[in-house]
């Protein structure tokens, strides 16, 4: 617990307020109440602040100490703010780290620098430290072209981003991706963070259109919709997403040889979905974690408006454990249940198989089929044991080579459609078990390829 005392101040109001400085700060003002910053239990008081350049807006979100600096007159230069903080104990370094992280997570700045000096000049306190956060703001519009590989094909993604549209970290993002074969997606997203509110909510709204072909299932899907999302954190590792999605889904038959069952589910449908996703993440890294576990639970209710009503629940879990140095054992498991009220068609179903769900199986290659086309199911479980090791002999150890791993895996899973056969759920669980045997066999056969390289972005 540290308390910082300050002697001179030029800040008008307190806690949670936003302070704007239009001009270089006069340091010899009347002393007024001091702003307080609460950081993870560390209390810091700002003794005085000044901006480095004239005509810079300096905005403090005092609750979380996310310092948000914008400079409308010279957007592309570097700006910054200096505060004089008086340190009582060493907690100040936690403060710096925290502020830095907060600034970073705004996504509006690069080259964030923290300069610390002993406070000097008129009116300085003897123990005071002068801290300068110097940042370079991203330009008003950022564009980018990159390529990705999705489950079906390679994509070219063109993106335009406007970070910090209104000066409070609002983001506007447009993306167009074009598949090598047939898919084309477009999305427009507006994001508004509230970093100074409790639970750190982030509000976002997006408009999208997605066009995908699924030759394994014989249909083509054209989705157009709106997604409203409210993300917040109830604890540092627990993240919630509350979503509403309204979409029009146009399923069309892909080819002449498409199975009649798939044909039956074609046609345009409207769907309105309420969704809650809770993610608990104790891993040390999102990519190639070495320890910790991760759980995600999704519950979805469709049918408040629209022509499709169903309840969908999914659970994904993952735990990682380091066996030896840099050899990681990962155990994953997932479960899903879909309960149909009305209008649920093949595109709503779960599909299992392929690199993103059940590696080693062909794309969507698990579960019921109709005339050679995978029609998906309403219940599934999948599990896997993965071992990640660095590449043998570790070429490019600290460079590019660290982005690659050898990956050995053993996957098993089962997907069932119990409604269709008219058997109760318990019965279908037995079916599940039976299917597991075949599933495991296929998994073993494909896992017997000694290793497969997992390439990440």
């Amino acid at each position: 617990m540290g308390t910082v005392h300050a002697k001179a101040d030029n800040v008008d109001s307190m806690g949670g307020g936003i302070f704007e400085f239009e001009e270089p700060i006069e340091l010899d003002d009347e002393p007024i109440p001091k702003p307080t910053i609460k950081l993870n239990g560390v209390r810091v008081e700002i003794s005085r602040t000044k901006t480095l350049e004239p005509k810079t807006h300096c905005v403090f979100f005092c609750d979380t100490a996310a310092i948000h600096i914008i400079n409308p007159s010279s957007r592309f230069g570097s700006t910054g703010a200096t505060m004089e903080l008086v340190l009582v104990n060493n907690a100040i370094f936690q403060v710096f780290h925290f502020v830095r992280r907060a600034l970073d997570s705004m996504g509006c700045f690069r080259d964030i620098g923290v300069y610390i000096d002993v406070s000097s000049g008129p009116g300085s306190t003897p123990e005071g430290l002068e801290v300068t956060f110097q940042v370079k703001e991203l330009s008003r519009i950022v564009g980018g072209i990159n390529t990705t590989v999705s489950e079906n094909e390679g994509n070219l993604v063109l993106g335009v981003k406007m970070p910090n549209v209104l000066g409070r970290g609002e983001k506007l993002q447009a993306e167009y991706s074009m598949g090598y074969r047939s898919s084309s997606n477009f999305s427009l997203t507006a994001t508004k963070p509230y970093p100074h509110k409790p639970l750190v909510p982030v509000l976002s709204a997006s408009l999208y259109q997605q066009n995908h072909e699924y030759p394994w299932s014989g249909y083509r899907l054209l989705d157009r919709g709106i997604l409203l999302d409210l993300a917040f954190k109830s604890s540092p590792v627990t993240r919630h997403n509350l979503q509403w999605e309204g979409m029009v889904r146009d399923t069309s038959v892909l080819s002449k040889t498409t199975s009649f069952k798939v044909r039956e589910s074609s046609g345009p449908q409207m769907k309105s979905i309420l969704r809650h996703i809770v993610t608990v993440d104790h891993r040390d890294e999102p990519i190639f974690p070495t320890k910790g576990s991760w759980v995600q639970f999704t519950s979805e209710l469709a049918g408040l408006g629209g022509g499709v009503a169903n309840l969908k629940t999914e659970l994904h879990a993952q735990t990682n454990h380091s066996l030896f140095e840099s050899v990681v054992l990962q155990v994953t498991g997932s479960l899903g249940v879909l309960h149909d009220m009305f209008g649920t068609e093949i595109p709503d179903h779960f599909f299992l198989g392929g690199a993103t769900t059940l590696r080693g199986f062909t794309q969507r290659g698990v579960g019921p089929t109709s005339d050679g086309q995978y029609t998906g199911g309403t219940m599934y479980w999948a599990s896997g044991v993965h071992v990640y090791t660095p590449l043998p002999f570790q070429p490019g150890k600290n460079g590019l080579g660290s982005l690659f791993r050898s990956h050995m895996f053993l996957n098993a899973g089962c997907l069932a459609l119990p409604e269709e056969k008219g058997i109760p759920a318990l019965e279908s669980l037995r079916a599940v078990r039976r299917r597991r045997a075949t599933g495991r066999r296929t998994a073993c056969s494909s896992a017997s390829e000694p290793t497969s390289c997992n390439i990440l972005k």
Binding site: W216, V253, T257
Partner: protein, 350 residues
Amino acid sequence: MSVYNLWDKEMNEAKLKTSLSSDWVFHSPVATPRSSSPPSRAGETIFNNYIDIIHSESNLSTEAKQTEPLDRPFDFFDDEEFAFGINLLNNNVACVGDNITKLIQMAQEPWPDNVKLFQPYEVEQILLPDNASCLAVQAFLKMCNLPFEVEMRWNAEFMSPSGRVPFIKCGAFVVSELEPIVQFAANKGVSLCGRLSTEEKAEMRAYMSLITNVLVNAELYISWLDNDTYNAVTKIRNSSVYPWPLGWLQTRAKRNTVAKRLKALHWHDKTLEQVLSDVEQCCNSLSQRLGDKDYFFGNTPTELDALVFGHVFTIITTRLPCRRLAEVMRRHEGLVAHAKRVDERHFKRP
């Protein structure tokens, strides 16, 4: 580029014609093993193989005779030996399976009992042009005494291989619209026009074109471009199966499609008067051809009778704000009597 490819392809096919059956034997195992390629690609290869067969005509007939020692000749539908193959190239036919020989055999098997005819909901959804064509197909199947069951689906239009209703599901095949269904039935040895001479068949086809060109377009015009009918009937019925904003979107999109089609056929700029005078002329031609006979070609019905019945019956029985179409039709007593006759003889039998 594509044109050049096409050119090459034709050259290849020309060669194929001369090299005969060895190529066919060579081709068939290519399609049969299901490799890891997705089904749709497999479908492509099948159809490409079909093209080869059709282009090497003599080849197929010998092949078919070897594989299937039935004494059924290939010429059900006048002298077209390859109605089936042509049919498969057509957008109106879809099938499941990848073995061509087996499919050809299946296409020739007798009419099964579990044939289903799919169409939109008759009471609240179906529109005038769709209703007419559904009725025509039903009439044709009844005239042939082929058993079928009518199944109504809200998305029949999207299930159909050609995007138009009605369609039938017969075994592995899905066939849509009257003409392809007629050909499909002919493949199974069922035909209504077997006794007609070639001239009469030519005439029959011409009259069928007359109907699809004039009556169908007029029905589309009245349903979608005549504002009264569109607002009072079409809009409501077409959007009845969708939840709120989707119905509006779908109806608008469909209206655009129909308008585009009519524009391409130069019907879009016509006034209602011009449309009705075209219909009048078409009806005149039909009544002249019908004269006072029972059916268009003698005493037994043909598919032309089915088609005329479908349209005439639908037009005179459907209530629309725009009554002039029905009035024009009613003036032709011969046609109305013909429709009644078909209705009584083929639909009202126990």
